[in-house]
Amino acid sequence: MELVLNLDKIQSESVSQYAKDILDNQNPYKNFKIENYKYAQLHKEVKSEILLRDINFSKLLDNTKNITSYISNPFDLTTNLNLWNYNNEDSFFRVSSLVKRETKSVNLDTFDDRNLFLDISQINENIHISKSSTNEVNLIIFNSKSNDEYPKSIFLDLSNSSKLNVVHYNVSNNKSFLYFETNLQDNSYLNFVSFQSDNIHTRNEFYASLNHECNFDLYGLNINNYGVNDNYSFIQHLKPSSSSREIFKSIVEKGAITNFQGKIYVDSIAQKTDGYQMSRSLLLDDISKANNKPELEIYADDVKCSHGSTVSKLDDEQIYYFKSRGIDSEIAKKILKKAFIVEIIESIKDDMLKNYSNELIESLLS
């Protein structure tokens, strides 16, 4: 039952056609949902004339421990994955990550530093990250100037009561695909903030399994992208009393297409789940496109789940208010754009990273 999946193949075909082919070939992964790729355009050609800028991340390196070279130990992902409880959906990216690829691992407990830096731009193997200590650690995942044909794949295991904050900078890529999967064990906590900017063609998939009383916050920001930017998330609450909070914001202009698909899944035993999801897009011109597909799939009754989604332009009334105070509309718009996304920056736990992100955003907005 060896499956060879290759993103090259779908350069010229639509994803759903390709997915159908896989299904017809008796995909061992049941319930493969073509719906998950409803808006995906993985085969999209990358426009080459756009010059992507270099992102200065030396400041990040100065203040953090670079653990990129520590990713080394071989890891048997496939046997371990059975523990991960993915009972219902499988991703195309997951399949292509698992097939014929080595997995290397790193254990965050081996470092004393509070801020760790991991550059995945050059890594082609699957990465398995684990953490079991209870101290709070900030992990920076950095990806820039890549032109991936295969998804980068990160599998994160957080053991009991472990805490981790991740800031993911996915910036200035011609083409980048990310598959991120995490298993949060009882009482663990993960805060994940993902910056997507200056990319031409990206797709990110975030999968999370939540056990007893764990907590997952996922924030995404999507600005200044040129081509297609897809974000897909699937958060499954498998055990009682866990909570998730997901906020995605996109500013879409200059012919870009932004797609967000996200699902909160609540198993029938996962009572007292608290799930929240918000996806908001600012659509600033008529040659661009914003598609949102937020989903709830709920099988337990004693839960609190909600999602919201908006697509709109900047508020004329607010711009008028700025102007009535003498602020010209260009500045007003810039401030309002910043106001729209500031919630995402604020969600970063570490002050140094918050400041860095703020500067990055400021430079992108001007």
Binding site: S281, I287, N292, V303
Partner: protein
């Protein structure tokens, strides 16, 4: 928690025997053999004395049907349907030669409608509502015909309209739902039996509610309703439909196509209370309700408003939609969908914004109980020319018990920067505090649940015409009996 548990128990003691429309009527029926083929289609067409073009249209639709796969998008578990194991046409013998007056109608049939609360006799006719009663494949009677025709309003069965107003039927039939839309639409186009036809002339406000009452009586019979409503410039009409069917162990198919066309400044209000037999507690029997409803706001300032209360059927697959073509046109969708026991529903709407300043509003309330699954699925699509388009969507789901599922799947697509789309959804369980409060004031738990759920649905129910709203409220409470968890 205790209160809920008690309710569940209480409810479980009630069986689906409570489906109060579950009786059947003993009448002799004319039926061609089971099966779906060109011969049957020719038979249906011949029975109805249809003109040649209508038969051609049907046969073409049948060809299309054979080529189309079953739609896959819904989150439903639809058993393989054997289209050959079903009757496609069934009419009471006594209706073969259309009765000229109510006196000629089989008293058994009249009694059926009376039992359903829809008297057809002049002296008892519902005031303010003109009714077209459809029994299996044929329209039984239409009330208030004279009064309406004085205003130039055409309200008759679609079979009659094919003969009396061929130009309108030719122009509009299939113009909103193309035959090739999906396989159920094609199937309906091939074998549709009866349904209503309404034409409101320019400048006329229809003074009464127009209504159709659908009744499936015969065994193993599919009902293929086809309704076409055209509101000419500056006109207004409000239309209601109700549906029931006897309790039978095998599943029956109801695949309807409903098309609405609103021209400049016209308004159509379409309300449905769907209470087909849902099957028993174990999921045996019940109607498969595969309905395609779509309205085109062709003219400027036109408006189409859908209100639905879906409580019946084993499977509901239904997305009443609006194509907002005319500038300033408006679409609305108000829905209550209740699933209990083994029922499944995948319902919602599509709002396609094409014209400028178009607006749409979607309010959906889903209630899931027993082992049922209830999905809201809806598309809001703002095309790039739809300057200043607005949409607001609110979807709330209520779960009663932990063996059911509630799902929300909105699709939001926008290509116009001057537009605004807002979607909100929540899922929760029935509020224990409210339940306790009601019980403390002396309501038994079942009534309390009925009350709270009605409150939850109020925003939708209040859009129903008065006469229906009261019925619908009772229905909401009844549907949850034996399922409230």
């Amino acid at each position: 928690m205790a209160a809920t548990e008690q309710t569940i128990k209480q409810v479980n003691t009630l069986g689906s025997s409570d489906y109060k429309y579950g009786f059947s009527t003993e009448v002799d029926e004319i039926r061609p053999p089971k099966g779906l083929n060109e011969e049957i289609i020719k038979f249906i067409s011949a029975q109805k004395d249809e003109p040649e073009w209508m038969l051609e249209w049907r046969l073409n639709a049948f060809k299309v049907f054979n080529k189309l796969p079953k739609p896959q998008w819904a989150k439903l578990n639809i058993p393989e349907i054997d289209y050959q194991d079903c009757y496609y046409y069934s009419i009471p013998k006594s209706l073969k030669d259309k009765p000229k007056s109510l006196d000629e109608i089989d008293p058994e049939i009249l009694k059926t409608y009376e039992k359903l609360g829809i008297p057809l006799k002049e002296q008892k006719m519902l005031s303010g509502i003109a009714v077209d009663a459809v029994f299996d494949s044929v329209s039984v009677a239409t009330t208030y015909k004279k009064q309406l025709s004085d205003l130039g309003i055409v309200f008759c069965s679609i079979s009659e309209a094919v003969k009396t107003h061929p130009e309108l039927v030719k122009k509009y039939l299939g113009s909103v739902i193309p035959v090739s839309d999906h396989s159920f639409a094609a199937l309906n186009s091939a074998v549709f039996t009866d349904g209503s036809f309404i034409y409101i002339p320019e400048g006329v406000r229809c003074p009464v509610e127009l209504s159709t009452y659908f009744r499936i009586n015969a065994m193993n019979t599919g009902q293929f309703e086809r309704t076409l409503i055209i509101a000419d410039k500056d006109s207004y009409v409000s239309y209601l439909e109700g549906c029931t069917a006897p309790m039978r162990d095998e599943n029956q198919l109801h695949a309807a196509n409903v098309e609405l066309v609103a021209l400049d400044n016209a308004e159509i209000k379409y309300s449905t209370v769907q209470n087909w037999y849902p099957g028993d507690k174990e999921g045996k029997g019940g109607i498969y309700n595969f309905v395609t409803k779509r309205g085109a706001c062709r003219g400027k300032n036109s408006k189409i408003s859908w209100t639905q209360v879906e409580t019946g059927s084993a499977i509901t697959w239904k997305y009443p939609s609006c194509i907002l073509q005319g500038d300033n046109s408006k679409g609305e969708f108000y829905s209550v969908a209740i699933t209990n026991n083994m029922q499944q529903a995948d319902t919602g709407t599509k709002m396609i914004h094409i014209g400028k300043n178009t607006s749409s509003k979607i309010i959906s309330k889903g209630i899931s109980a027993g082992k049922a699954n209830n999905t809201y699925r809806g598309l809001v699509n703002i095309l790039s020319k739809a300057k200043n388009a607005r949409n607001f969507t609110q979807c709330d789901s209520l779960l009663i018990g932990n063996q059911c599922g509630a799902h929300t799947v909105p699709y939001i697509e926008s290509s116009n920067s001057d537009s605004m789309v807002e979607h909100e959804a929540t899922t929760s369980k029935i509020n224990e505090d409210q339940l306790f409060y009601c019980q403390q004031r002396g309501l038994n738990s079942e009534d309390a649940v009925g009350l709270i759920v009605n409150g939850f649905c109020k925003e939708v129910l209040q859009h129903l015409p008065m006469e229906f709203a009261v019925e619908a409220q009772k229905l909401v409470a009844i549907s949850l009996e034996g399922s409230v968890g």
